[in-house]
C-alpha cells in the first residue's frame, strides 16, 4: 500500500504529534533528573579541591 492509499485510512492533515510531545517531555525530564542527580548526588558531595 503506497502513501496515498494509506492516507485514506489516516488523514495526515488532522495529525497532532501527541506521541512526539509525550516522548520528548519524558526524555527532557529524564535528562533534567540525571543532571540534578549528577550535580547534587555526585559533584557537590565531592567537595572542593583539596
Amino acid at each position: 500500500m503506497d502513501i496515498k492509499n494509506k492516507e485514506e485510512s489516516f488523514d495526515p492533515s488532522k495529525f497532532t504529534p501527541v506521541g512526539t510531545w509525550t516522548l520528548l517531555c519524558l526524555i527532557i525530564a529524564g535528562m533534567a533528573v540525571a543532571w540534578l542527580f549528577l550535580y547534587f548526588g555526585v559533584f557537590l558531595p565531592r567537595g572542593g579541591v583539596q
Binding site: 494509506k6 495529525f15 504529534p17 512526539t20 516522548l23 540525571a34 543532571w35 549528577l38 555526585v42
Partner: protein
C-alpha cells in the same frame, strides 16, 4: 542529474573518506587493547600516541571533510536539478585536500606528528603535518564556494521560490565551514607553520588554544549538519511519511549556523588565558545551541510518528512499532536519535561551568564526543552511503540484511564503549593516556569498565569491517544500468512550501548577526594577546 562525472566525483570523495575510516577504525581497536593492558606486547607510548593522533585526524578531518564534500555535490545537483557549477574547481578542491591528507599522513605514521587531533602547542609536530592539514582545509574551501554559488544561482533563476531544504542546509554548512575553519587556519598559518619550520623560536599557547576554540566546537556541527540533512530529507520518506515541517528545519539550520560559532570557550573553562565573563557568555550560548537540536528532535520524531500512524500505528506510542525498522535509513535515524540523547546529556554536563571541573580531561569527555560523532553522526553517514551507493555505482547493495546487522552492531558497540568511558571518567581516569598501572588500589575500581571498553571496541571493529566489506562487495556486483538523479528522493513536507520568509531562504542577515556575535565573543579575547605582554613557549618533544 547524477551524471557520470558527478558519480565519479562523489565516489572519489567517498573512497578517500571510507579508506581513512577503515584505517582509523583499526587504530581505534589497537588503542583500546593497548589502554587495557591485556596484551603487554602492545605497550608502546610512542606507537600509541602516533596511533591516537592518526585515528583522530583521519576520523575527525579526513572522513568528515571528504564525506561532506561528496554528499554536498550529490545534494546540490539532485535537489536543485541543475548541473554542477565549475566541476574543474571541484576536482582541484578534491586533489588539494587529497594531497594535503597524504602530506599530513607521512609524519603522522612516522610518529613525527603525535600531537593528537587538537595539535595543541607547545607540543610540536613536523612542519609537513601542519602544511598537509592546511591544504586539506584549503581544498574544502573550493567545495564551500561551489555550494554557495550554486545556492545563489538557483535563487536568481527562481525568484521568490524556496531553495530546497537539503540545499539550504548544505549551504548553511558551507558558510559555517568557512567561518569555522578561519580560526584553525589562522593558528596553523600564522603560528604553527612558521614555528615548526624554525622561523620563530616560541609559540603562544594561549592564543593558539583560543584560535582553536574558535574552530573546535562549530566543527562538530559541520560534521553533524549532513547527518541532520539525512534526518530531514531521507528518514521521513523512508519511514513512509512526510516531513512534519519544512520551516522548522530552516529555523534549526539557521540557528545552528549562528549559534554554534561563538561558544568554543566551553572547551577552555579550565584555561587561565581567558576571563570568566567570556567563558560564561560562551557557556550560555552553548546551552542555546541545544535549541536547534531540540527543534530537529521534535520535527523528525513528529515526521516518523506521522509515518507510523499512516502505517497503522495507534495509541500514544503504537506508531513506534509500526515503523519500518528493517529499512536501514529509518533504523539509523532511530539509533542516531538514541545516541544523541545520551551524548547530548553528557554535553550538558560538559557545558555546565562548575560541573565541568568534575569531568575535565577525563575519559568522560572521550565518551561524550565519541557518542556524538562516532555514534550519532557516523551512523547517519553510513545509512546515507547505503542509500546513495547503488545510485552512484549503478549496482545494488550486496545484501539487505547485512547493513541492518552492521548498524545495530555500530550502535551497541558505541553504547558499550562510551558507557564504560563515562563511568571511568567519573571514577577519575584521565583521557589521553596510553596505559595505567592497573595493579594499584587506586585503579581497582576501573577494571570492569576497562574490560567493558575492550568489548565495545571489539564490536565496533567488527562493525566497521562489515561496513567496508558491504561497500566493497556491492561495488563488485554487476551493474544494473545508469541511475537518474530523480531516484534520489527527498521527503516532501506535510504542508507544501511555496513561499518562505526571505530570512529562511538566504544567509545575508545571518552572516551579519554571526559577525556581531563573533566580534563580541572573540574580539577582545584575541586582541588581548596583542595588547598585553604575553610569553611564548619553546617546543615540547618531537
Amino acid at each position: 542529474m547524477l551524471t557520470i562525472e558527478i558519480r565519479k566525483l562523489a565516489l572519489s570523495h567517498f573512497a578517500v573518506a571510507f579508506g581513512a575510516f577503515g584505517l582509523a577504525a583499526l587504530m581505534g581497536f589497537y588503542q583500546v587493547l593497548a589502554r587495557s593492558d591485556l596484551i603487554p606486547a602492545l605497550q608502546s607510548p610512542g606507537v600509541y600516541f602516533a596511533s591516537v593522533s592518526t585515528h583522530g585526524v583521519l576520523m575527525a578531518y579526513v572522513l568528515t571533510t571528504f564525506f561532506i564534500m561528496g554528499f554536498g555535490y550529490v545534494t546540490a545537483v539532485s535537489s536543485l536539478k541543475t548541473p554542477l557549477w565549475n566541476p574543474r574547481w571541484a576536482w582541484i578542491g578534491f586533489w588539494t585536500s587529497a594531497v594535503g591528507t597524504g602530506l599530513a599522513a607521512l609524519p603522522l605514521l612516522l610518529g613525527r606528528a603525535s600531537v593528537l587531533y587538537t595539535f595543541y602547542p607547545p607540543v610540536q609536530a613536523h612542519a609537513l603535518f601542519y602544511i598537509g592539514a592546511a591544504l586539506l582545509v584549503v581544498g574544502s574551501w573550493f567545495w564551500a564556494v561551489i555550494m554557495i554559488v550554486m545556492h545563489g544561482q538557483w535563487k536568481k533563476a527562481h525568484p521568490g521560490e524556496p531553495v530546497p531544504l537539503p540545499m539550504f542546509a548544505t549551504t548553511a554548512n558551507a558558510i559555517l565551514w568557512l567561518w569555522t575553519s578561519a580560526g584553525v587556519a589562522s593558528e596553523v598559518v600564522f603560528q604553527l607553520i612558521p614555528w615548526s619550520m624554525g622561523l620563530k623560536d616560541t609559540v603562544d599557547p594561549g592564543l593558539a588554544r583560543t584560535l582553536f576554540a574558535w574552530t573546535l566546537h562549530p566543527i562538530v556541527y559541520f560534521w553533524l549538519i549532513p547527518a541532520y540533512i539525512a534526518l530531514y530529507s531521507f528518514v521521513p520518506k523512508a519511514a513512509g511519511g512526510k516531513l512534519f515541517s519544512d520551516e522548522l528545519g530552516r529555523v534549526a539550520f539557521v540557528m545552528l549556523l549562528v549559534l554554534s560559532l561563538p561558544i568554543g570557550f566551553h572547551h577552555l573553562y579550565m584555561d587561565p588565558q581567558q576571563g570568566a565573563g567570556f567563558k560564561l557568555s560562551h557557556g550560555t550560548l552553548t546551552f542555546l545551541v541545544a535549541v536547534p537540536t531540540l527543534l530537529t528532535a521534535f520535527t523528525i520524531t513528529a515526521s516518523v510518528e506521522l509515518a507510523g500512524r499512516i502505517n497503522g500505528g495507534t495509541g500514544l506510542f503504537g506508531w513506534i512499532g509500526a515503523l519500518p525498522w528493517r529499512n536501514s535509513m529509518v533504523l539509523a535515524g532511530i539509533l542516531a536519535a538514541a545516541m544523541l540523547v545520551l551524548g547530548g546529556f553528557g554535553g550538558l554536563v560538559n557545558a555546565s561551568y562548575a560541573m565541568n571541573a568534575m569531568v575535565h580531561n577525563t575519559a568522560w569527555v572521550a565518551g561524550h564526543f565519541h557518542l556524538i560523532f562516532g555514534g550519532t553522526t557516523v551512523i547517519l553517514y553510513m545509512a546515507t552511503t547505503y542509500y546513495l551507493w547503488p545510485r552512484l555505482t549503478g549496482k545494488p547493495l550486496c545484501s539487505s540484511t547485512l547493513p541492518l546487522i552492521q548498524l545495530w552492531s555500530w550502535f551497541w558497540g558505541f553504547v558499550i564503549l562510551t558507557t564504560a568511558w563515562h563511568i571511568l571518567g567519573l571514577l577519575g581516569q584521565p583521557r589521553r593516556i596510553s596505559t595505567v598501572t592497573y595493579h594499584s588500589p587506586l585503579t581497582f575500581a576501573w577494571d570492569p569498565y576497562i574490560l567493558t571498553m575492550v568489548v565495545g571496541g571489539t564490536v565496533l571493529m567488527v562493525s566497521a569491517g562489515l561496513f567496508v566489506y558491504i561497500l566493497a562487495k556491492s561495488y563488485r556486483q554487476p551493474e544494473t544500468g545508469p541511475i537518474q538523479a530523480d531516484e534520489i528522493e527527498y521527503a516532501e513536507p506535510l504542508e507544501p512550501v511555496t513561499r518562505v520568509h526571505p530570512l529562511l531562504n538566504g544567509f545575508s542577515v545571518w552572516n551579519i548577526a554571526l559577525a556581531v556575535l563573533m566580534l563580541a565573543n572573540f574580539g577582545y579575547p584575541i586582541a588581548q594577546f596583542f595588547l598585553i605582554k604575553t610569553f611564548g613557549s619553546v617546543a615540547w618533544g618531537y
